[in-house]
Each structure stands twice: as C-alpha cells, then as structure tokens.
Amino acid sequence: MSPTMKRSVGVSVVFVALAAVAAFATVDIGQFSGGITEADAFIINQLLLPRILTAVLAGASLALAGAVFQSVTRNPLGSPDVLGFTQGAATGALVGIMAFGGGALVVAVSAWIGAVGSGVTIYLVARRGGVTGGARLILVGIGIAAILSAVNEYLITRANIVDAAAATVWITGSLDGSTWSGVVILAAVTFLLAPCLLLTSRSLRVLELGDDLAIGLGLGVEKVRLLTLTGAVLLAATAASQTGPVAFLALCAPHLARRLTRRTGPNLVPTLLLGAALMLWADYISQHAIPNRVLPAGVVTGVLGGGYLVYLLAHQRKTGQI
C-alpha cells in the first residue's frame, strides 16, 4: 500500500468516526440514562433513526455527485449547486408545493422531475457535434441556472406566505421531514448507483487529464461523461427530492476530501464518507446553534460552505485552478 493510499484510508476512518460521533450526539444517548420509556422508543425509532439515515444517505449521495460533476467539468467549482441542477430541483418543488398542495411525496416526485429535467436539458444544449466540453457544460449550466432562478423568484412572489416559507425551507435543504419510506427510496437508489459510480473512479481520473490525452489512452470520453453524469444526476436528484438541495455540500465535500487525503483524482470513497459526516454535523449544529430556534441544515452548510468558497476563490486563484 502506497503512503498516499494509507493516508487516504486513515482519513476515511476519521470521517466515519466523525459521522458516528454526530449520530450519537443527535440521538443524545445521555438523556435516556434512566431507562427507555415507550415514548422515548417512539422518538428514537420514528424520528431520530430515519433522520440520521437520511442524513447519511443524502449527504453521501450529494457529495459523490458533486465529486463526479467536478471531475467531469475539470473544475473545483463545477458542482450541481452552480450548474443549474439545484435550481431545476427547486423549480420542480415549487410547482409541487404551489400547484399540488405540497404533500411530502408530491414535492419529492416533482423535485426529482425538475432536477433530472434540468440535467438532461443542460447536457443536450451543451452537446455539439457529439462532444460536451467541460467549459461549455459549465457556461450552459450557468445560463440555465440564471433563467431558472428567475422563474423560482417569480413563483415565490406568486405564492402565499405559508407556501413561500415552506418553499424557502425546502430550497435551503432540511432533514425535518425524514421518514422511513424516504430512507427506503434513498437506500435503494444509493446502493444501486453509488457502487457503479465508484467503479468509474479510474476512468474519471483519466478524463481529468483532458480529452485529447484521455482519447489517446483509449478512453471512450463521451461515453464515460454521459454514464457518470447520468448516475450523478439521478443520485443527487433522489437525495435532493428527500432533503432539498442542501447548499454547497456537493461543492465542498469533494474539495475538502481531496485536500485532506492529498491525493489527485476524484477521491470518491473519502468524499462519500465526508458527505455523510458533514450532513450529520450540519443537522446537529442547525438544531443546537440558536437556543429555541430550529434551522434547516442547509443554512449551516450554506453559511459555512459560502465562507469556505470565498477562501477557496482567494487562495486557489494563485495556483490558477479556478
């Protein structure tokens, strides 16, 4: 095992430990020291466990999708948050909340449709002559994102204030509505798609070298791009349909993982674990940061992630990566 590989494994173990600590903190084992009553059992089984599992699965899915997006666009900022995908999910959810009354299932389905729809649109517009360059994918994504955010702003002005508040919570990303049925859907999609994406790790690493070099090395560039992006879009859409597009998780997790493991390439496994840990911690902090106020988890990732992003922009400019 090479030293970088060892470090990578070590960092992954730390991420798992961090996730476990956050999960225990969320359940707050200490409060049940006097024995578990029936009411406590209900809270643990029906509220806290689905919440924790949703956080783990959705966090891992979003982070993995972000890593794939960044790898394919060859840019550390090329995450679903920036490329119109999040906005598409939000448009879907807003339509679900405003037109169909906003049941959990309706919002999940309409957000999923919106996310996948915007993903397909961006890919088709960016594709010319059978090639989807990284830069074109980014610029097309930004254009679509700008149009969709205007549509979203418009929808929010047309909603009544209760729907508008619900929509803002959803767009920010929250774990409050976690249920066992949601966990089952998430688990099915994650366990199906995540292993497939992990297997493409080697191809993604070659793709990062640039199209010319990758083709020279015998990689079916366009096929890899299409397959990995499809997987990433489906994964992120399913996660976003359950929790909302938690801001910046998909952008920051791959980046932090890469810095900590000091490995080049997509670093998919550490990213996935870090995504789960970050989501759990964001949820824990959002529940406890302000006394008597419960915030959506996306507020924490948004504010911390935004700060990290500004640091990243200032720092990485020197190396010319951004």
Binding site: L77, A146, G305
Partner: protein, 333 residues
Amino acid sequence: MTTRRAHPARCRAVGLPAALAALLVVCVLSLAIGALPLAPSAVWHGLADPASGAYAVVHQTRLPRTLLGLLAGTALGLAGAVMQALTRNPLADPGLLGVNAGASAAVVTATALLGISSLSGYIWFALGGAALVSVLIYAIGGGASSTPARLALAGTAVNAALYSYVAALELLDTGALDKMRFWTVGSIAAAEPGTVLRITPFILLGTVLALGCAKPLNTLALGDEAATALGAKPALTRGVAIAAIVLLCGSATAACGPIVFVGLMVPQVAARITGPDLRWLLPYSAILAPVLLLGADIVGRVVARPSELEVGIITAVIGGPVFLLTVVGRERA
C-alpha cells in the same frame, strides 16, 4: 484602412440619433401602457395639464416608474460595458458576477437585522455590498489565468453563497421574507418620486466616472506595459472604473432589486454597431440599456394581465438564451 473605418463611423453617427429616438418611443409607451391605457395625446395632457384626468396616473405611478427604468437601465448598461472592458471578458455582467447580489445581501441584512426599511437608509448598505463583491470578483477575474468560464463560474458561486445567506436571514424572520421576496425579483413597479430623487446623484456620479474612464480603458486594452509607456495609469484607471461600477450597480440594486443580464446583453449589441472603442460603446450602452429595461417592463405589464410580471423575470428570460448564444458563438469563432 480608411474604407474599413468609414462604415462603422457612419453607422455610429446615424445610430446615435436612432437609439435616442427608440428611447423616446419606449418612454412614451411606458407612460401610456398599463392598467389604464392612455393615448399619446392623453399622455401629453397628463404630463402638462394638472386638470387632466390622467394627471394623477402619469405623475404618481408611471412617471416615477419610467424615470427609475431610465436611471437603472443606464446604470446597469454602463456598469456591464465597463465591467466587460475591465475584465476583458464578454460574459461579464453585474448580475451574473454577483455584484447585484452583494448589494442585495447587504440590503436584506439591513432590513432583517437592523430594521432599516427606507431606501435612504439601506442605499449605503447596497453600495457597501456591491463594493465588497466587486473587489472580490475583480481580484479573482483580474488574474492572468482567468478565462470567461472561470470568471463566470466564480461569479455564480459567489451568487449562490450570497443567495443561501439571504435565504438564512429570511428563514429566521418571516416578516423579512414577506417583504424581501418581492424586492429580490427585481422590479421597477413600486417606484416613488422619492426613490428616483434619492438614487439620481449616485447614478449621475457613476455615469460621469464611467464615461470619464472610456479613453484610459481603451488604452489599457493594449496591455499594461504598452499602456504605461503611452502615459496611462493602470491602477488609477481600474480604481475609477470599479468605483463607477459600485456606484451604478449599488444604487440601481437598492432601488429595483437585483436585475440580471441587462449589463450583459446591451454592451454586446452596442459593440456590433460601434466596434470596441469605448468612447462610443459606453454612450451607446447607456442609451440602449434603458430601451431594453423599459421595453421588458412594458412587456411585463402586457403579457400577464390583469397582474404584471416583474421586469427582472423578463430580462432573465430574454437574457438567458442570449447568454447561451454568446457561449456557442464564442466557441465557434
């Protein structure tokens, strides 16, 4: 050389009166069209004659709205043109690069946390927010390794960060959400005479600064070394240009909310008429941008009767495809 120059020169000279005429037509239409349609003669009476039935409509709602559209349009068009020259990037736009979002985040902070709700109070916050983001984006975009995609991406990421900050504040305070959700769309519908008066000095100053740095910016386009050899002062020019962008974007955003794509589209259209010379490009942008903004506002009043679509939505829906076409066109060139 002379034959190649003759054509744009003639175009520029003929185009300027034509652009002014278009602006006049749009202003009259903006005064005439709305929930109560007025004939052009009625508009004239409404403007001049206090006894006319249309006097109240024209003076209290349509005139401020039209003037605000004029001011904000000019501001955004000029800011976009200066920004594109400064970053040497055809995709630069104060909305897309987050300058308007910076102003908007500062205004929401002032409203939600400090309880400031009047324009005269929060315009200073808007200017401060615009200044912060301008400097940040310029620091990112000014590097030698910057490409259009990188700059646009950095701007969008800053936009997303500011958006989640605004959403966090709105979630903490539903009252702020109710107020701000209308403002964050970008609209000139709620204009009052006071709003127009308050932002006029800022926009005038910004316009003067922007037009004043046209010639030095032309020289800077040759590259810093050549420009310095010709007697230019790159640092001073850039400072003045950024100050102009901050004044223009900050005050326009304080009055109308963040509006995207006007600053992107107009300089690109204007450059087709004038070529890259900023001494022509800037005045053209200043005249054509309000034509677009007021035109979009009029479309918004007509398409969704009896209610209205905010102008920020119309400009985004027109501007998004223009942006996509620019991207495709650049790659082809």
